[in-house]
């Protein structure tokens, strides 16, 4: 009896180790490829110093040599992702509050929620052509504004639904007290309710930020030089001589690190955030 329990535990941890390996391996491989000499990039050696001599040559060539394009792209990505996430979180939270506190007539609350959800169902290829034509007409091609405006819209659903669920859990008596004391509705929102749902707001912000950071097709269509974002620059590492693994892996790491690290630190909020609705039904 005891032995079978022990065996079960053992196999459980073996399985967990295998999954851990599969998840870490791509990141690790990218990392060691970036510190290998090009001629060694093709060998299956895994451990630096022991199996191969690590070098910072590639990093120097990428970061110092092509630094300007790279930093420009990182800067653009930071500006675009942060501002679009801020705007969608701000006005999305307002809508989430509205859906949680009021009852709408012509369009019922449920219809409005479905309207937000439906926006996420639209395939990007359907809207990307009109975006191209509209922003060309407005003279906004290759600007960060065009990306911010679009990303704000496509990520709106996350703050709306997340904050709506959070606001539902706040007893409305708290707000009524403030209203009686002469606070306006918006005053109540900013001074009383919003501070109580900060975890949901943080989750929404990070999800918006990561999705905006990772977006590719719209950025590819709307930018070409000044406002390119970081994913576009990886697409540019393809070389006439084929893919230069060592440079590609550096850009991979620079692209993937910000959203992954932020999400890992805020995982407590995210888990709640990403599983919204699905669990409660």
């Amino acid at each position: 009896m005891n032995r079978s329990v022990y065996l079960k535990k053992f196999s459980l941890y073996i399985l967990l180790m295998i999954v851990t390996f599969i998840i870490i391996f791509p990141f690790y491989w990218a990392f060691i490829t970036s510190i290998k000499l090009p001629k060694e990039a093709f060998s299956l050696s895994l451990i630096p110093w022991l199996q191969f001599k690590p070098t910072l040559m590639n990093w120097k060539a990428e970061v110092v040599g092509k630094g300007e394009t790279l930093f420009n792209a990182i800067k653009n990505s930071l500006i675009v992702a942060t501002s679009s996430a801020l705007i969608s979180t701000l006005i999305g939270t307002l809508a989430g509050y509205g859906l949680a506190r009021f009852r709408y007539q012509t369009w019922k609350n449920k219809d409005i929620a479905i309207f937000f959800l439906a926006s996420r169902m639209v395939p990007p290829v359907v809207v990307v052509l009109p975006y191209f034509l509209i922003f060309k007409f407005l003279g906004l091609i290759d600007t960060k504004i065009s990306l911010i405006v679009v990303y704000t819209a496509i990520n709106m659903v996350f703050p709306v639904l997340l904050s709506r669920d959070a606001f539902h859990e706040i007893p409305s008596e708290i707000e009524e007290c403030a209203l009686v004391d002469g606070c306006t509705r918006f005053g109540v929102f900013f001074r009383v309710s919003l501070p109580l749902v900060i975890p949901a707001v943080v989750a929404a912000f990070i999800i918006c930020y990561a999705f905006a950071w990772n977006e590719f097709l719209i950025a590819l269509t709307l930018t070409f030089r000044h406002s390119v974002t970081i994913p576009i620059t990886i697409a540019g590492t393809e070389h006439i001589q084929g893919v230069q693994f060592w440079f590609t892996s550096i850009r991979f790491l620079l692209t993937v690190a910000p959203p992954v690290v932020v999400a890992a630190f805020a995982q407590k909020f995210i888990v709640k955030g990403l599983t919204f609705g699905a669990v409660k039904g």
């Binding site: 459980l12 941890y13 967990l16 998840i23 791509p26 491989w29 990039a41 093709f42 969608s88 006005i91 999305g92 307002l94 809508a95 509050y97 509205g98 506190r101 009021f102 709408y104 639209v122 395939p123 990007p124 290829v125 359907v126 809207v127 990307v128 052509l129 009109p130 191209f132 509209i134 679009v150 819209a153 496509i154 709106m156 709306v160 306006t184 509705r185 990772n214 590719f216 097709l217 970081i230 994913p231 990886i234 697409a235 590492t237 693994f245 590609t248 991979f252 692209t255 993937v256 992954v260 932020v262 999400a263 890992a264 995982q267 888990v271 990403l274 599983t275 699905a278 669990v279 039904g281």
Partner: protein, 291 residues
């Protein structure tokens, strides 16, 4: 003062107005624009004339359209199937009493935030036929190297593998949350009846997490139909056009060859598929919740 009063009386509307308007302008307007384009013979330079359904009719006679549709359906079926299975498996694995569950949960969800395009390019390295770690590993085991980018089936498989790596964590997270929402007493009662593990899972756990499973399935299927980044980076549709996913083909027609009319018709056809899928499953989800 008056403005504040007015705002307050109409507060109800001002709360939802900004986001609804923003979405209407940025999503609904382009959707209508795109529908309009699909009825025009618009090319790169000039506005075309109205051609009715001709763009759509041309689609059905086009070999590449059917090819990309078939590939996308194959991709969706295999990727979503594997992701659901792995998601359930991983969730069950972590729904046991183990130490460091939080650590593993954090670790398992990292792929979710990795840039899909970047993963596609990393895939070029990992799947590299001559010298990638996967093939070298197979070779050292005495197995045959897989021609990931020459063999059409292997190429599609490589896209599925990257997609599974990226999206299984999403299924896992949602299903784990659903599993943890199942009241513990139910299991204890079942154990008293000395029911087998399989029976407990089949008759107790599965029905209770069914709504979560359906939601995950729905969300993943819709997202999978839109797949573009990973094939763009990993195979760019090759060898030939054997992994040309639907969105990728649409992108090429529209923004590489600037055939706006035909591309919009293509895009709208995809929109139709997703719409029909949603309508079909929304009623199902609702009936499960109410029943």
């Amino acid at each position: 003062m008056k403005l504040v009063d007015f705002l307050d009386r109409k507060a109800k509307f001002f709360f939802i107005l900004p986001s609804v308007l923003w979405l209407l302008v940025i999503t609904a307007f382009p959707l209508i624009y795109s529908l309009l384009l699909s009825f025009l013979s618009t090319g790169a330079s000039a506005w075309g004339k109205f051609v009715g359904l001709q763009n759509y009719i041309a689609l059905f006679k086009n070999y590449r359209f059917w090819n990309s549709l078939r590939i996308t359906i194959m991709f969706v079926a295999s990727a979503v199937g594997i992701e659901m299975a792995l998601g359930i498996g991983l969730a069950l694995l972590l729904n046991t009493e183990i130490k460091a569950r939080k650590f593993f949960r954090t670790l398992f969800m990292t792929p979710l935030f990795a840039t899909p395009l970047a993963l596609g390019y990393l895939g070029l390295i990992l799947f590299s036929e001559a010298s990638g770690p996967i093939n070298t590993f197979l070779y050292t085991l005495g197995l045959k190297k897989i021609l990931w980018f020459t063999n059409p089936k292997a190429a599609l498989l490589s896209i599925v593998i990257v997609d599974v790596w990226k999206w299984s964590p999403f299924c896992f997270l949602v299903i784990l949350a659903a599993l943890q929402g199942v009241p513990q007493q139910i299991y204890e009662a079942a154990k008293l009846e000395s029911t087998s593990h399989v029976a407990i899972f089949k008759y107790i756990t599965l029905p209770l997490i069914a709504p979560a499973l359906l939601t995950v399935f729905l969300l993943r299927t819709i997202e999978a139909f839109k797949v573009l980044d990973i094939p763009y980076a990993l195979t760019s549709g090759g060898p030939g056009i054997t992994t040309e996913a639907y969105s990728l083909y649409t992108y090429k027609v529209g923004l590489r060859f600037f055939n706006f009319g035909p591309a919009s018709a293509l895009a709208y056809f995809l929109m139709g598929i997703i719409l029909i899928f949603c309508i079909f499953f929304f009623s199902k989800i609702r009936s499960i919740h109410e029943g």
